[in-house]
């Protein structure tokens, strides 16, 4: 059980669903196709600050998508093999990432401010509401 102490950050919900769990957080962008292992969900992008972390089953918070439209396929495939992030939170909605999230029915929030994203520590415990766009950050 977590303490009740939390703060709320607001974004814009684009795919509904309530998810609670561990957040993997970066203010960098990510390329899903080539940057995330398609079989495991591990971040493998060269020189990425989160290289080696795994986003499967985690609430993945990042700046935006980068590079190929293949992100859609990667997110869709990760969902098929149940290695998908449980929710996505980003600052700039990258179309192929957002499209992939909608296809894969992953609760997603966009338009979070960079300052808010920066304020969330990696591995924090959070709850997100993909309908209202609210992010509850629990502070220990």
């Amino acid at each position: 059980m977590r303490k009740n102490k939390y703060r709320v950050i607001k974004g814009r919900g684009v795919y509904p669903g309530i998810v609670e769990g561990e957040a993997i957080v970066t203010t960098e962008s990510i390329s899903f196709l080539g940057g995330v292992n398609q079989k495991t969900g591990e971040i493998i992008e060269f020189n990425h600050p989160l290289k080696g972390e795994n986003i499967a089953g985690k609430i993945f918070m990042f700046y935006s998508g980068r590079g190929s439209v293949g992100s859609t396929s990667t997110i869709y495939y990760l969902k098929l093999i149940r290695k998908n992030p449980s929710a996505l939170v980003m600052v700039i909605p990258d179309p192929p990432v957002v499209f992939g999230a909608i296809l894969a029915e992953i609760p997603t929030i966009v338009d979070v401010s960079v300052e808010d994203l920066k304020s969330i520590k990696n591995h924090s415990h959070v709850r997100i509401n993909g309908e209202s766009g609210e992010i509850f950050v629990y502070e220990d």
Binding site: V14, Y15, L33, Q38, G67, S68, V69, G70, S71, T72, S73, T74, I75, Y76, Y77, L80, P93, P95, P96, V98, F99, G100, I102, L103, T108, V110
Partner: protein
């Protein structure tokens, strides 16, 4: 998002559950991208044809559960096989089986089975200035936006197919006039003498400006195939979906038009040294050439004709693979005109529907590949471990076909 009566009917399931699902996805996506409405499209170009990108074939199989047809004329992207000559390309039977399964799904959807990254060579004047379309394949996106002046975002295979099925796409990004404004002025001082120079130009500009809308000033009388090559390398290195060439492309009659009356956010200059640098940066081989690749993006009829003339009467070096790539549509016409026979009489081969970057066979053993196409050299280096690349001007690449040496 505002929906028309017909769109609401599709959303309510009046055209079946598959289109209902397709419309639901598009409406959610449009809302996410802050589109105010869907716009009808006149054409779509769809990928999902590769056998080696996970999530493409799986999507096709699980999404297309009923007998539906695309609502607008739709072409499709390059396959992983040449249907008639796959054995000589070292492609396995498993890949052929999977590819033929994709062909069958596309045939049933009523998609034109073009299997090419240059569909615009095959659709005549179907797409015109100002038309809304939905295109996959980054180089085709940039070509349609820039050279034709049609309007498309960079679609993924999945979003492209769903747009084709409902005949609409959300109105955001490059569908809106204000986003088509030039942002960076590129002064071209370099002398562009060869097709490969357009590859180099796009490579350097893409690297410097990133996903901007570059406006080129100083490119004189380019031919359409060169604008295609420029589109390809800009998309590759900069994620660029739209560029203008002053006095050449339709939305840039003048410099002022290209910037929609505004001032550029930035200015850069490209010199001969910048062009030369690309040839050095993308050459990793050391002397010996075993394969020559020409036709990235897929060749036009005019390009094939020019290569036939360059090769005429000569013989490629024994044991050397000299590969040209085009679409089946262009191949068929070129064959009738005697162009294919002229090229193949030299020992070179012309392949249809496919691309070395999609062929599994090529990845099995390292090669020494010479090419005048920047994307082959750039991607090939990460896709084909141990392979050496030579990137150079056309005359040098053709010479390598006869000598087996890069010099």
């Amino acid at each position: 998002m505002y929906l028309t009566k017909e769109e609401e009917r599709i959303l309510n399931g009046e055209q079946g559950p598959l289109l209902q699902k397709a419309m639901e996805i598009m409406v959610r996506f449009g809302d996410a991208m802050r589109a105010e409405r869907l716009v009808p499209i006149v054409y779509a170009h769809v990928s999902l044809t590769s056998t080696n990108i996970r999530g493409e074939h799986e999507f096709l199989k699980s999404f297309i559960t009923e007998d539906v047809k695309v609502k607008v004329p739709t072409t499709c992207q390059t396959l992983s096989i040449d249907r008639e000559r796959w054995t000589e390309l070292g492609i396995s039977e498993d890949v052929v089986k999977m590819a033929m399964n994709i062909v069958e799904i596309f045939r049933r959807l009523g998609i034109r089975l073009t299997f090419t990254c240059t569909p615009y060579y095959l659709i005549e004047d179907l797409v015109k200035l100002g038309d809304h379309i939905a295109s996959c394949e980054s180089s085709a996106v940039t070509f349609f936006n820039s050279v034709i002046g049609a309007r498309t975002n960079r679609e993924s295979g999945q979003s492209g197919l769903i747009s084709a099925l409902i005949g609409r796409t959300p109105e955001y990004g490059y569908h809106l006039t204000e986003n088509r404004k030039g942002t960076v002025l590129v002064k071209v001082e370099a002398k562009l003498v060869d097709d490969a120079d357009f590859s180099s130009l796009g490579f350097q500009v893409g690297k410097i400006v990133g996903p901007a809308v570059p406006v080129f000033d100083g490119i004189k009388n380019p031919i359409i195939d060169q604008l295609k090559i420029l589109a390809n390398s800009l998309a590759l290195m900069g994620g660029i979906s739209l560029y203008h060439v002053v006095g050449v492309t339709p939305e840039a009659k003048t410099l002022k038009d290209a910037f929609q009356g505004d001032v550029p956010e930035d200015k850069i200059t490209i010199t001969n040294e910048d062009i030369e640098r690309t040839y050095k940066e993308l050459t990793t081989g050391s002397g010996e050439v075993r394969t020559v690749v020409i036709g990235c993006p897929h060749l036009s009829l005019d390009e094939l004709k020019r290569y036939a003339t360059l090769l005429e009467g000569k013989k490629v070096k024994e044991g050397l693979k000299v590969w040209f790539f085009t679409s089946a549509g262009i191949f068929e016409i070129a064959k009738r005109m005697g162009i294919i026979d002229k090229i193949e009489a030299t020992g070179a081969r012309v392949y249809r529907d496919t691309c070395p970057l999609l062929m599994d066979g090529l990845k099995k053993k390292p090669e020494m590949i010479a090419t005048n196409a920047v994307k082959q050299s750039y991607y090939g280096q990460s896709f084909i471990p141990g392979t050496g690349f030579y990137f150079g001007r056309t005359d040098k690449v053709i010479k390598a076909a006869f000598t087996g040496r890069w010099e």
